[in-house]
């Protein structure tokens, strides 16, 4: 699998949100725990809708959760 051109701070944001589990976040976003784990690890690129839903759960703008990596196309 090709490496995704962006990183994310979901793990940190979960920790800051009272150590929210991947399962809890998945439930609130409407995806499985495995999908949250895959997004966190940079293995899966979520849809724009799921990305916005994740940001919404943390009360953050999208760019505070996902960051485009400099130097990538």
């Amino acid at each position: 699998m090709a490496r995704l051109p962006f990183t994310n701070d979901i793990r940190t944001l979960r920790f800051l949100a009272g150590e929210m589990t991947q399962g809890d976040l998945g439930e609130r976003v409407g995806v499985t725990r495995q999908t949250i784990a895959a997004i966190e690890q940079g293995k899966y690129s979520p849809s724009l809708e799921v990305a916005f839903r994740i940001a919404h759960v943390f009360g953050k703008p999208l760019e505070a959760v996902f960051q485009w990596e400099n130097g990538t196309g």
């Binding site: 495995q34 999908t35 895959a38 293995k43 979520p46």
Partner: protein
């Protein structure tokens, strides 16, 4: 390992064992005889029943052991994995179909045509399920 992934493994191993037995046990030396088609049919009926029973039992056991995941709805990643697996399985299916069409014109015996079709369906299924297992791990 997620419940969905385990179910894929069950399907993959069951198909591999069941059809592995079928293709090894089929009397290939008599494949051109008129009775070969019925021999194949006679083998496929218990084989199909065996697959249904094995998958039902294995799925039920896994469902009991993974109750929290049984009713989880498919999400966008699951759907993407399924689409990609099905897309990859399309290629062996098309190659097999054309090979079968070619064999029809050579006057190949019905049992050979049946086994070729069966092999392509099994191969396509193994590609579909196998690629989905791989994608569950890697994406």
């Amino acid at each position: 390992m997620a419940f969905r992934e385990k179910i894929h493994w069950v399907a993959f191993v069951t198909m591999l064992l069941a059809f592995g037995w079928y293709f090894l046990a089929f009397p290939w030396r008599d494949a051109a005889s008129p009775g070969a088609l019925w021999t194949a049919g006679g083998m496929l009926i218990p084989l199909t029943l065996g697959i249904i029973v094995a998958m039902t039992v294995a799925t039920a056991i896994m469902a009991i052991r993974n109750r929290s995941e049984v009713n989880l709805a498919e999400d966008e990643r699951d759907r993407a994995i399924h689409w990609r697996g099905t897309h990859l399985a399309y290629y062996p299916m098309v190659v097999g179909t054309w090979a079968c069409i070619g064999l029809i014109f050579t006057g190949a015996p019905p049992a050979i045509l049946l086994n070729l079709l069966l092999a392509m369906v099994v191969l396509s299924e193994l590609v579909r399920i196998g690629s989905q297992i791989w994608l569950y791990r890697r994406s």
